[in-house]
């Protein structure tokens, strides 16, 4: 009896269990459908471009990214783009790191590859994104701002390499053709025309995010015209007519950045810092001998704001504890530390933990505009003043904003006949014989005076300083101790960057076409750029 009940129970249980199992298997199939797959495959932490298109606020943040990255952005990108190349070749610093071959004129491939990639891989797509989004959403002010960021970013690139991909950027193809530098510059002027015209109506865009002018269209127009002036002077020796037209156009716009209050910078914060703030921590750069010669010889008060006294004091016996290091030191010589014996950057540019200011990153300063106008006047362009006036106002603007010097001190400086001094206590003469006091009678030495003073005013913008040093040959620099580059002897500086390895693996046809075509057959560090015609 009991047995029967048990077996009935058992049979019943078996049936129930088999039902449960089979049903659960089918529920499984039903539940396991694919309806929510699209949701699963949507990353809640990222933004689709559709979402960006709908939001001016988000577009502003994307714009800020374009601003920061187009000026190299992160510290290591800055180091491999600027401080290892143009900062050394412009003569601002010498390196104390034995492994930094670029001070001996070797263009270390890995670094320049990353420099190329930092612009084309990071900044350029972002600029395009912002420009496209602004255009699609009818934001004319934002579109104009993006165009100015674009011109600023690309002129820095073409000034490094010469012919570069420009008009075909973003084609998403396996080959991207290069444009000649001449075409690129001509394009820049057109783009600036469009930008300035769109900005003429005033207004504002990306106000909460714009790190230069808080979205103020009127101020952006000032940058547009000031950039026009910079680019106009750059082509002075290659296309004098274009140079004159554009320079005069910029001047007649009446909205140049002439007051330091309008300086164009990218503001920084604790996260997105001025790269110098971090790389100075690494102890790899010191004031160059050229810099010491000029600042010390001129009795220039900016010496103390740009640099600090050497840790071990006055070593060359000239009574002044600021010491510059001659560029191109050999590896063996750098086996012994040169840091304590030479001047580091002023604490203002150094790490925040050491009292650094984490300053905004310079795009263009008023003082530069004055010096551009000085050269324009020297060239006979009609820019509303004489070369001397602009030369002196340039010094004055720079002195005031950097040192807070009063008018009398500035006048004393501009009238001084001091010339560059010896950097090593008298063994080697000063790097040049030009005085501070302007002498218009000799056009060439006047140009040297203008560019040398501009070089001082631009500090620490080595990118622009190297371009102008190549174009004009000024300021004169001490010869390097050594060069490891057969194309660039110690008494010269490189004329450009050679093309990077990644282009030869990913874009070989286009880069070879650029070399044999626009560049004239030679991809070397001493190949002259189109605008380098003096």
């Amino acid at each position: 009896m009991i047995k029967t009940i048990n077996s009935i129970k058992l049979n019943k249980m078996k049936k129930i269990i088999s039902k449960i199992l089979i049903i659960s298997a089918f529920i499984f199939i039903a539940v396991g459908c694919t309806e929510d797959f699209e949701e699963i495959n949507t990353n809640p932490l990222s933004l689709s471009t559709d979402k960006l298109a709908d939001s001016p606020v988000l577009q502003g943040q994307a714009f800020a990214q374009a601003q920061y990255t187009s000026m190299t952005g992160l510290h290591w990108r800055f180091q491999i783009s600027q401080s290892l190349f143009s900062d050394l070749w412009s003569g601002y610093y010498a390196t104390t790191a034995a492994g930094f071959d670029s001070d001996r004129f070797t263009q270390v491939g890995g670094w320049s590859d990353l420099a190329w990639g930092s612009f084309y891989g990071i900044a350029a797509p972002q600029i395009k994104l912002v420009e496209d989004l602004a255009r699609e959403s009818g934001n004319t002010v934002g579109e104009a701002m993006a165009k100015i960021v674009k011109v600023n970013g690309y002129h820095r690139m073409t000034d490094y390499w010469g012919p570069i991909p420009f008009s075909a950027f973003g084609n998403e193809e396996l080959s991207v053709p290069y444009d000649s530098q001449q075409d690129i510059y001509s394009n820049f002027f057109t783009i600036l025309d469009e930008a300035s015209s769109a900005l003429s109506a005033g207004g504002s865009s990306y106000a909460g995010s714009d790190r230069t002018y808080g979205g103020d269209a009127a101020k952006w127009k000032k940058l547009s015209e000031s950039l026009r002036l910079r680019l106009a002077m750059r082509v002075r020796f290659a296309d004098p007519a274009l140079s004159r037209t554009q320079a005069e156009k910029a001047f007649s716009s009446g909205v140049l950045i002439t007051d330091p209050a309008d300086n164009a910078t990218v503001s920084t914060d604790g996260t997105n810092r001025n790269p110098l703030e971090t790389i100075t921590n690494w102890g790899e750069f010191r004031m160059s001998a050229t810099m010491e010669s000029i600042l010390k010889g001129f009795g220039d008060p900016r010496m103390e704001v740009y640099f600090d006294p050497a840790a071990s004091g006055d070593s060359d016996g000239d009574g002044i504890p600021y010491e510059g290091l001659q560029n191109g030191q050999t590896k063996v010589a750098l086996g012994t530390s040169k840091n304590d014996g030479h001047s580091d950057l002023n604490v203002f540019y150094r790490n925040m933990s050491l009292g650094g200011a984490n300053p905004a990153i310079d795009i263009m300063r008023a003082s530069e505009v004055h010096f551009l106008l000085a050269e324009a006047a020297l060239a006979g362009f009609s820019v509303g003043g004489s070369a001397k006036d602009y030369y002196e106002s340039g010094i004055s603007v720079s002195m005031m904003e950097r040192t807070g010097a009063d008018a009398a001190a500035i006048a004393a400086y501009t009238n001084s006949v001091n010339t560059p001094a010896s950097f090593d206590g008298g063994t080697t003469p000063g790097v040049s014989s030009i005085p501070v006091k302007f002498n218009e009678s000799n056009t060439e030495s006047a140009l040297e005076q203008i560019i040398t003073q501009k070089w001082l005013a631009l500090f620490p913008n080595g990118w622009e300083a190297w371009a102008e040093a190549r174009r004009t040959g000024y300021p004169k620099q001490y010869a390097r101790v050594s060069s490891e580059n057969p194309d660039v002897p110690v008494d010269q500086i490189p004329s450009r960057m050679t093309y990077v390895a990644s282009e030869f693996t990913t874009n070989i046809e286009a880069v070879n076409a650029a070399i044999s075509g626009q560049l004239g057959g030679s991809d070397k560090n001493n190949t002259k750029l189109w605008w380098d015609k003096k």
Partner: protein, 1009 residues
Amino acid sequence: MKQQTILSVFLSTFFLFGGVIFAQKTLNGNITDETGGSIPGATVIVVETNLGVISDFDGNYSISAEEGQSIQISYVGYSSQQILVGASSTYDVSLQSDNTLDEVIVTSLGIVRQKRELTYATQSVDTEGIDESRANGNLMNSLQGKVAGLSIQTTSGGVASGSKVVLRGNRSIAGSSQPLYIVDGVPLGGDINDLSPDDIESISVLRGSNAAALYGARANNGAIIITTKKGEEGSFKVNVNSTLTVDSPIIQFDYQNQYGQGSGGIYSSFSTDSWGPALGGTQPHWSLDPNITGNIPFVSNPDNITDFFDTGINIANNISVTSGSKNATAYLSYTNDIRKGIIPGNELQRHNINLKIDNTMLDGKLKISSRLNYIKSNINNEPSQWENFDNPYRHLYRLPRNIRTQDASNFEYIDSSGNSKQNYWKPNDNGGQNPYWTINRANLSETLTDRVLGHLSLTYNISDNLNILVRSAIDNSTNSFEKRWHNDTYIIADNGQYAIDNNRSLEWNTDFLLAFKRDLNENLSFNLNVGGNNRVNKSKGMSTNNGGLNAPNIFAVSNAVNLTANQFISEREVNSLYGFGNIGFKNGLFLDLTYRSDWSSTLPSDNNRYDFYSTGLSAVVSEFVNFPSFVNFFKVRGSYAVVGNDTDPYSLERLAQLQPGGFIALQTTAPATDLRAEKTTSFELGFDTTLFNNRVNLDFTYYKSNSIDQLFRQSVPQASGVTSKFINGGDIQNNGIEAVVSVGLLTNGDFTWDLILNYAANKSEVISLADGLETLSYGEDYVRNFQLNVGQPWGSMYSRGFERDAQNRVLMNANGTPTITAGKTVNIGNFNPDWMGGITNSFSYKNFNLRFLIDIRQGGSVVSFTKTILASDGLLAETAIGRSGGLIFGTDVYQKETPASTPASVDPETFWASIGGRNAPVGEAFVEDASNIRLRELSLSYALSQASLTNSPFNSVKLSLVGRNLFFFSNEASIDPEVTFGTGITADGYEAFSAPTLRNIGLNLKLGF
């Protein structure tokens, strides 16, 4: 202290229970085969005592035993027999031949199948000893050298280092070539090495995708199938397993000991190079400590590298309890691992609790199996790898030759302002550190992991022919990592630095399987299975970085100068349905068919399904054809499979990321808008045979696989607007052979000798990439560039090399250095070996057992980044050549090279700077042959006889002496070529500040109660 205690337990146990003897009677008998022929050399042992004899030439034996004991008679190729000793003294035995036809193997989905049915290559791994030597606590490393075609390379690191595991060669351009791990029928989401070797019942390796087609995409690279132990029917049993091993590093860099710090022959206390003057006398002290001034001896310190290391210690203890009735069994096991690395402060503690309960209900119709495995581990100060500033090896290997241990170990001092500072010869050097500072103040980290593996399965026999399995398993782990850097760790951050990482990840598989099986008639059997699987992967994480500390050396998030946080998320779901069937004819001919469809959330919704199928045939030819009598068994098999793959989550759309500080950055990779699923087609053919009375077993496989339509990122011109694009293309072909031979070499008296050989050779070729694409660069480091070139094998390494003329002579620069190619354009070799093999010898004599494994890797190239640095630092022995007067290329160094012009004499500092160093090392000058033969594993064990344990509380006692990586029989390179720095596809053939290989020796004690 602790290890001493354990050792004394070992020894006292050993002596307490040894050598007790009982009274016996003598048994006699004759052993014959089925035909009545006598069997000489058969083994007869008394089960209880483990003592045995061997039958003589006429098959006669004589052995002492007690009434009530059992004797077991065995002979290779025959089923063994067990006889209870009664009153009689004579026991004649007839043995039945055993064609090893019944060997079973665990295959896909945890299904146990007879090996004879299988249509593809599998190898079940001898798990004997994996719980003894424990392979530095890394489960996979204990498979090294044991499986044909399985390459296992230890990744550099400390006590928790992983390994790179590849079956049958690399094939995936963008993804991983590592196999899938299946535990109790279910894929494992996380790290296999967390599992305790004590809990492993069996491991079988499904080498090709043929075997694994049922697992879908992830089994593209083969699968490793692990079955965990379960409870045994019978009374309560306790097993204790204790291992204590010690590690010592095998350093192979050859240092010079003649010159110290400096440059150009001049001493500089500040220098990180050893291009200074000849050692001898004294020089000013380098120390920054104001209390330490004056001179120190400037002498050679040949041991300043090895002084740094501690003896590594590994202690593993396991206790397992099993008990069970007919309907319910339970297995509970606890494993505790304690490891101290050779880097001081590098430690691991792991607790692993594993409970498995199996129930049978309803007259055996319902089986419920559940397993819960909880693993908690705590890892301290695992060394960072590669060129990372926190990698202690990076700083250690570069110690200048005159630096004395007693000075360097003084890594810290208090400066005039009372701050603790780093004492290093080159203060504030970007990336430079005193290695003692690194381990005490910079590489301070803690990783905590809690992992739960849960497994529940129900099997119900609906009828005799039909059953259903429903199963669900999770693998969930949470991981927290934190790292602390003290103030004055150069350039890391102001006042110190603090970073935290918290992650959790889940893999959850749920599946069902309906199995129908029927013998249609005597000759024809048939089975059909239908199943489905739902897989969910989710991971989430958050990391914070303090961006420097406000108050020095207080490691708290609230002490951040500039706190940044990053968050990540990844989610994927894959649904699958599959069916497979098998038809067997006369238990000798088997046809397999499988089909599987996957739907993946990562693929475009209108095209998210991809299919796999395989077919295979196995014929036990010896069942149908009469072979010569020495062939006992012969089977041929062949199979063909197509396996697909999906892509990563969130790859279909170009996204933008929010960045700290109010930025939004556009992703640099173009989206994969038009994706086809990847596919691997593979074909294999093989045979298994058993020969000479089953003494020899040979398993041979030829395979060929083509991985096509691969999804990878191709670098495109950066000016195209994206840095890389998804490409669907490629055809990577691998083909090769694998052979496993096992031989019962000797059975003579108490002595047996078994030999297992395995051999595998794989050839890969890039058949095609994509339209118009002949070369794809898929990775780069300082030394090497990896390219896939159509028509060439996978694994070619390109580097800088010497410029040569038409006669292959090296062009020279005026200063006596060779000219170097501008780019990494010289093919310096392929990292893949030509072949790999292993030889396992097993000897047993009475209660002793000796086993050793020789591991062979022939061919392939390796290059050491460390050596390029040590060369330019003036540390390697060869850099001492020519210090006075210079050296001549081709004569003093690189004698194999012929210079194209008479080379000038060059000072060695200039010479080695031109070919070594970090920025542009010349790979061709440093590439070496990776061939090596090593004694991988050795174990000598002694098991106490049963007789001696009768009056003890023990059922079994076994003591083993174990060792791993004891020595190289030969090693062509000056480093261990099998140490890689990661598991990625570019990790092979490269040494970069890796941890040295560890020589590991110890004792293992196993006790059964």
